[in-house]
Amino acid sequence: MTNAEELLQLACQRDPAALEQFAKTVTPSRALGDELSQLGDRALESGDLKKGTSAYRLATSVFDAIGDGNEAARGRFMVLQVAFMAAQTEDQYRFVYDQSRPQIERSEALPYALRFNLIALAADAAFWASTVGSAEAKLGWIARSLDDLATLDPAQADDSSVARYASLLIADLQALRDLGLDQATLDQAEVRFSKAAASLAGRQIQYQADPEKGPAVVAALARIAAGQFLGKRSPLFGRKDASS
């Protein structure tokens, strides 16, 4: 079996356990794994999440079989990313968040870009869980999301990862502000990220789907760096003293 499409088709007809076993027995090769990964990427681009999940699962099995831990980890990450994209309920986001934990724990030895994306994914899942979950759970989810982000060094990340990190950080802090917490708590939360935000000064942050978002994010990061995002001071200064 050399054609990834056919392999995927065959695998999809079996149960998940069988397909992993199947992959291990079909003379696994790096080329096949790469092809499956690319098949997953294409499926994702076309919006076929189910096919994407199957392809990444199979690719993960192949890379596991040939002992390529990094690529296998990327496959697992992509499976979770697809699950994140399909999620709509708090339970579904919770599933992504929970599934990411053991992977994050084992990610110390992975390339930093992959580890970064994995943690950012978990933080993203936690944030979205906060938006669809109960009011009581909201603060907990935002805190988990911020805890994950606080472990990251965005200065080391590539542009697309930074874009995700930055918009997520801003959304988390805005959500925190909207909860009506006291200013001291908000200040504490903001200070925690001021250094990371400052490290992104000068980075090009662009969002293909929303060109207007880039400058907004850059400006918000500068405010976080200066500790002025959650503690506002209006820039419109009015009359303070009529002298005549």
Binding site: A201, G202, Q204, P215, A219, P235, L236, R239, A242
Partner: protein, 569 residues
């Protein structure tokens, strides 16, 4: 009736004795404190910042629900020739229309109250004790006070404008019949109308429409069953008049005072700050006095955490404050009306700068410049809900080295005083593609200009101004006018040679002087008005050879008034 009228009843009697209004015409009234020939204010004096007013008020109209039309259709023409001048007539520096009213009582009010401007100085700054961010401001209040001498009451018989086409001289525009959002509380309170005048006829006056027997002379004390209205009634407060509020709410900017050259905060639009009769009214006007901090980008950028402004020391840059809203008037960055070949050349290394009275003072470098864009680029200052979270481009740093430009955008959210610098992006002209290409330090491959949406327009605005203030004769990098010639286009391209002048502005705190760009007449620079080249080409303007245009300037254009077949004035 002869003699001076001092009561509403006598005025009614005098009006009844006037000749009847001819069929097809409407009788309207006007009061003046002096008997000068009724003439629009716009024809009596230069219209201060007329272009800026119109552009900004068009932006406001857009925000108020009248979208800017790409086509100059009849509705858009009416906008520019009737409704925007109406706003200027009622809230700003005047227009080529004469104010009149259906109401004889309103005309009496304007005859018996004299208007005078009174400057008031104050300090604007952050709340609390004195701060380095405190800045001096001046507001020109327009105060009405009882006029105790003989005044004049005019009546006109004029045809009503059909609301079609363009109003002819003498046509009456009844503002109560105008489209929304232009039926403002002020025009309704004054039962206001406008009569179109023409500078070329009757010396700009409208005397030939005057009803025989007028003006009538009237004077205080005035007796009437209805007391004269108060200022607050005639000019409803900004709390209820959204147009008044929109114009007043534009943050003040630093401008050089004509006597000292030192910067003082003033309103960027010539909006009339009416002094009302009550503290509540005046409080509503005063509450709109503000400036948008930081007032001087170059000063703010040189302090604070350097880590958030990853660009070379801003002290090396020449700071230039642009006073006019220019983004809406210039083509979009991806438009094929921009000729990149022209745009990247013709920039002097140094240009002379002048004091506010026009005296040449020295040279300013143009290889490293920091442009601060006008707060008039934003049209939503009066809407507090829209101030939050909306970033705008406050400025751009352009560093020129040989044929390459290094650019930083200065961004600021409208709800925060914090600045952010985005960049660097490098630009250079690609002669093969006839377009700019760009790259960043993290992605050094040169990429097509069209893929860069954020930096494009501010960069082009900066280059446009750098060329305008250069003394080298330059063709503007976009056509002022072009028409389809069947197998190509007719282009008219303005030539500039120092049309914009750098005027020195002294920082009120003495440590961060800057420059503004003014026309030769001292007004904020908006557009070139000098000579032009005219030519035909089958190419889009972006693809026209810059070299050919430069050759045409070198051989055919002269800064003097000598005519040339290829040159239009």
């Amino acid at each position: 009736m002869t003699g001076v009228i001092r009561s509403a009843d006598d005025l009614d009697t005098a009006l009844a004795a006037l000749p009847p209004c001819p069929p097809g015409k409407v009788r309207v009234y006007r009061g003046q404190t002096h008997n000068y020939a009724p003439m629009p204010s716009g024809l009596r004096r230069r219209l201060d910042r007329d272009a800026i007013w119109k552009v900004y008020s068009r932006n406001l109209a857009d925000a108020a629900g009248v979208p800017l039309s790409e086509q100059m259709d009849s509705a858009e023409l009416a906008m520019w020739y009737v409704w925007l001048p109406m706003l200027a007539q009622h809230y700003g520096a005047g227009s080529n229309y004469l104010d009149v009213t259906h109401s004889s009582a309103q005309a009496v009010w304007f005859a018996l109250n004299a208007a005078a401007f009174h400057p008031e100085k104050s300090i604007l700054g952050p709340p609390g004790p004195p701060s380095p961010e405190d800045l001096p401001s001046t507001v020109e209040w327009l105060e009405y006070s009882p006029f105790e001498e003989t005044a004049y009451f005019y009546a006109f018989d004029v045809p009503a404008w059909s609301m079609q086409d363009f109003p002819a001289r003498g046509d009456l525009v009844d503002l109560a019949q105008g489209p929304q959002p232009f039926r403002s509380p002020r025009v309704l309170a004054q039962q206001a109308c406008l009569i179109r005048a023409d500078q070329e006829k009757e010396n700009g006056t409208l005397n030939d429409f005057l009803v025989a027997g007028t003006p009538l002379q009237i004077a205080r004390p005035w007796t009437s069953s209805m007391p004269l209205p108060s200022v607050d009634d005639v000019f409803p407060s900004p709390a209820v008049d959204s147009w008044f509020n929109r114009f007043l709410s534009v943050p003040m900017i630093l401008v050089p005072e004509t006597d000292t050259g030192t910067a003082t905060l003033r309103r960027p639009l010539p909006v009339m700050a009416i002094r009302g009769a009550t503290p509540k009214y005046n409080g509503a006007v005063t509450a709109t006095e503000s400036y948008f901090a930081p007032a001087l980008l170059h000063k703010a950028l040189r302090g604070g955490p350097e880590s958030s402004h990853a660009m070379p020391d801003v002290r090396n840059a020449t700071p230039i404050l642009i006073e006019a809203p220019v983004f809406v008037a210039l083509p979009a960055a991806d438009s094929d009306r921009w000729n990149h070949d022209l745009l990247h050349r013709g920039i002097d290394d140094r240009v002379p700068f002048f004091d506010v009275n026009g005296k040449e003072c020295g040279l300013a470098g143009l290889r490293d410049t920091l442009f601060q864009f006008s707060t008039l680029e934003v049209s939503s200052w009066s809407e507090s809900s829209r101030r939050d979270g909306t970033p705008f481009t406050r400025g751009i740093r352009v560093i020129r080295d040989s044929d390459e430009f290094t650019v930083y955008l200065i961004l600021q959210e409208s709800s925060s005083a914090t600045l952010a610098a985005a960049g660097a992006v490098r630009f250079r002209f690609d002669a093969t593609a006839r377009r700019f290409v760009w790259s960043t330090p993290s992605a050094p491959t040169w990429k097509p200009f069209k893929e860069l949406d954020l930096f494009g327009k501010p960069f082009f605005v900066a280059l446009h101004f750098l060329r305008v203030i250069s003394t080298t004769p330059n063709a503007q990098a976009f056509p002022s006018l072009f028409t389809d010639a069947g197998n190509g286009y007719n282009y008219i391209v303005r030539i500039t040679a120092g049309d914009g002048r750098l005027i020195h502005v002294a920082d009120p705190h003495g440590d961060a002087d800057a420059f503004v760009v003014r026309s030769v007449d001292g007004e904020p620079f908006t557009h070139a008005t000098g000579g032009a080249l005219q030519f035909q080409s089958e190419l889009a303007f972006a693809d026209v050879s810059g070299e050919a245009i430069r050759d045409a300037i070198a051989t055919e254009w002269r800064p003097a008034v000598t005519s040339s077949p290829q040159r239009t004035e």
